[in-house]
Amino acid sequence: MSVETAGRAGVSRFSAGALVRQPLVIALVLIVALLALGEMLSPGFASPQQILRLLIVAALLGIVAAGQNLVILGGREGIDLSVGGVVSLSAILAGNVMNGSDAGILPAILACLAVGALFGTFNGIGVTLLRIPPLVMTLGMLGVLQGLLVVIRQGVPSGRAAPALAEFVTRPFLLGLPGIIWLWLLIGVAMAFLLRRTVFGYRVYAIGSNEQAAMLAGVPVRLIRILLFTLSGAFAALAGLCLIGYAGTSFANVGELYMLPSIIAVVLGGTPLSGGKGGYTGTMAGAVLLVILQSILTTINIDESGRQMIFGLTLLVLMMFYGRGRAMRA
């Protein structure tokens, strides 16, 4: 009983953290290596402005991945394939509510979060009460959302971002960093607190690691799993809102490009798809890494379809290395 030296700071730092942190360290090393590679391929790639732009894009992905991370941590094949649909829907919704006026920002935030949370809750209810596997449930939900987007876009103009929102996402706000970076860091701190310092967080790990034991220890398993999906929907909606600030206007299915990368960022960051271990810090690094990779691929003229193929392969390769958390319960 001697690990008091670990201090108050880290609940799962010393030993449990070792596994988790290894991928984190790898991700950070890769980030530096990829930046160097990018600079070699195209001078100016690693310039401060360029890095700032990459970070903004990473923040958007990272916010989606926060929800994805929570759902995956909760285990039982937890995954949210509907995030892309929610991002698109939220972007359109925000654009229409704001319609270029700052007064519309608050209503847009409320509307987007509510709608995102609602769709997430539907996912959660389907997965828990109706016992539909998350893969099927959220894929079905993605289909619903895509259909909904087609209906909405017929005749209705897609709207514009409020100037203040665009400024928040793109212009420096504090210490030269735009507001969205600060928002992302805040989310990072909040996620760390949630997972390491709240009973909710402990319970998320418990159900992800051994649902039966958690149930016998009085953990409200279904409620927690529903909440994870609710949060995932809300995070995706928040990202959609920020996305329209970044792009100015929403265009067809902008969110679709987030589904696969959000999962890859989580796995890259050291959370296995089987859940129960890992955390958000790694996921943040994973998001940055992915965005840099994406940018390098663009630099060397690989088009969108090529990038998607490379992302798909990346996920499969990752799974071979540390996606197989199932072996834990030998």
């Binding site: 690990v3 008091e4 010393f14 009973v199 790990y205 690691s209 051994n210």
Partner: protein, 501 residues
């Protein structure tokens, strides 16, 4: 036909000797009963014959020739077929397909000959047609069958192999009277054909109804083989118990702390549900009530239903005199109940997570906490962990790094940070080392001395005899006998456990 004998078979798993000397002889045309208490080595002996376990020493002879059985397929090749207690049926396939599975008739070596398959299946189904009950036919899918019907399918599947040597490991546990009788009729015919049958059952009436000879196995040794016609149930039980049988549980008998006057903390009346019926008992403050009997006679099911895992359909539960309806473990915990399962891997340990996360969930719930303060949690967890003499390096260590015994101590400690009123122990020492067991029972007795009510189900009779103030012996889902005071002897325990329902 064939004559099987096993001489001096021995099998150890690591340091544990499962079978030290197994001698067994099966003649043509006999039903040979094998009987022994939990963990006596009976199933190891059986598995050696079935080919799923290889003995470390000893030999297996068929018709006097030594053979080596290298696996289930080799056993089949030698003419041995086994009925396993854990049914091995394909749920989505039909009755006929399951029966034919071991030897699917084929056309040209590729296509299943459906007509012959059906004919073979029909032959066995017809033997049980009038006792199998509604909805049982060759085309029914197994998933739609009742438990007893599934057991019949497994029996038919074993019979359909037409092997000269048949092993039945508890084949009748779910069958009703008429089904058992029909099954025995079939066995008698097989006997007449000269087949050799090994029959394992815990029901004395069945053993005496169908057996020709009986071999008793105790502590890994086959101790006696007798003709059924020359023995009786008491003699068999005496052989199972051995020398220690008549002794009362004198060594380390529990303190008679459970004074008659003390208040009742848990009272269960007429409890009934899946796997048990009409169970009533009371637990007083400071009392250790033992649940005994053979495996799976409803002991775990009762404990789990009291704890709200699968709530009972009948009966009442009173806690400290007040009636409570407990629909989930959450409610049970709020009402001061605690439940420790022996299957810590499935029910207890939160795998790969730090010790701190493993000891805290009950504390969170009982105190309605929402924010974690690791410092104060460590302090609170320290006391129960040290009371259990838990050995660990630090609270951040992943729980899987500990030995089985220490993992179980962590799981138990989570219940003791805030004292429950009643502690339900469901075979809590399964698979943990002797030192951990000793530490655990020392704590359990001191908790009882401090006034906690404890229900202890143990599959190890010695643990029950040494620690329980009273023992309720379960048989077929209900309490068949209560052993108190000087009646708590191994002989009485076995007698009650093996007595026919």
């Amino acid at each position: 036909m064939a004559h099987l004998s096993i001489r001096g078979a021995r099998k150890a798993y690591g340091a544990t000797i499962a079978l030290s000397r197994g001698d067994f002889d099966l003649k043509e045309g006999e039903v040979h009963v094998l009987i022994g208490s939990n963990g006596s080595g009976k199933s190891t002996l059986c598995k050696i014959v079935a080919g799923s376990v290889r003995p470390d020493a000893g030999e297996v002879l068929i018709n006097g020739k030594p053979v080596s059985i290298d696996g289930p397929r080799a056993a089949r090749g030698l003419g041995i077929a086994t009925f396993y207690q854990e049914l091995s049926l394909a749920a989505h396939r039909t009755v006929a397909e399951n029966i034919g599975l071991p030897e699917l008739p084929a056309k040209g070596g590729i296509f299943v000959d459906r007509d012959r398959l059906k004919a073979v299946a029909e032959r066995y189904i017809s033997r049980f047609a009038d006792v199998a009950g509604k909805g049982f036919s060759a085309d029914t899918r197994v998933e739609h069958l009742r438990e007893d019907q599934r057991q019949l399918v497994e029996i038919m599947k074993t019979l359909a192999t037409e092997a000269p040597i048949l092993i039945f490991d508890e084949p009748t546990s779910s069958l009703d009277r008429s089904q058992v009788e029909r099954f025995f009729d079939v066995l008698r015919e097989l006997k007449a054909q000269g087949r050799g049958i090994v029959f394992i059952s815990h029901r004395m009436d069945e053993i005496f109804a169908i057996g020709d000879r009986v071999t008793v196995i105790r502590d890994g040794e086959t101790v006696a083989t007798s003709l059924i016609s020359q023995t009786d149930p008491s003699a068999i039980i005496r052989q199972m118990v051995g020398e220690q049988g008549e002794l009362a549980a004198a060594d380390g008998a529990p303190p008679a702390a459970a004074a008659e006057s003390s208040e009742t903390v848990l009272a269960v009346t007429g409890l009934g549900g899946r796997g048990f019926a009409n169970v009533s008992f009371e637990v007083g403050r400071g009392e250790i009530v033992g649940f005994g009997g053979l495996h799976g006679q409803g002991q775990s099911a009762v404990l789990r239903s009291i704890f709200g895992v699968s709530p009972a359909s009948q009966g009442t539960i009173r806690l400290k005199g007040e009636e409570r309806t407990i629909r989930s473990p959450r409610e049970a915990i709020r009402n001061g109940l605690a439940y420790v399962s022996g299957d810590r891997g499935r029910d207890g340990v939160v795998h790969g997570r730090p010790i701190l996360e493993n000891v805290t969930p009950i504390h969170f719930l009982r105190n309605k906490l929402s924010v974690v303060r690791p410092g104060s949690l460590r302090e609170r967890a320290a006391k129960p962990l040290s009371a259990l003499k838990t050995r660990f390096a630090g609270y951040d260590q992943p729980v899987n790094a500990l030995s089985g015994g220490n993992q179980q101590k962590i799981v138990i400690a989570r219940w003791l940070i805030d004292r429950p009123d009643v502690l339900l122990l469901d075979d809590p020492t399964k698979g943990i080392d002797l030192q951990a067991k000793a530490d655990l029972f020392a704590l359990i007795r001191s908790l009882a001395a401090e006034g906690m009510g404890i229900v202890l189900y143990s599959s190890e009779d010695a643990e029950l005899l040494a620690n329980a103030d009273r023992i309720l012996v379960f048989n077929g889902g209900s309490v068949s006998r209560e052993l108190k005071g000087a009646d708590r002897t191994r002989y009485n325990l076995y007698h009650a456990a093996y007595e026919a329902a």
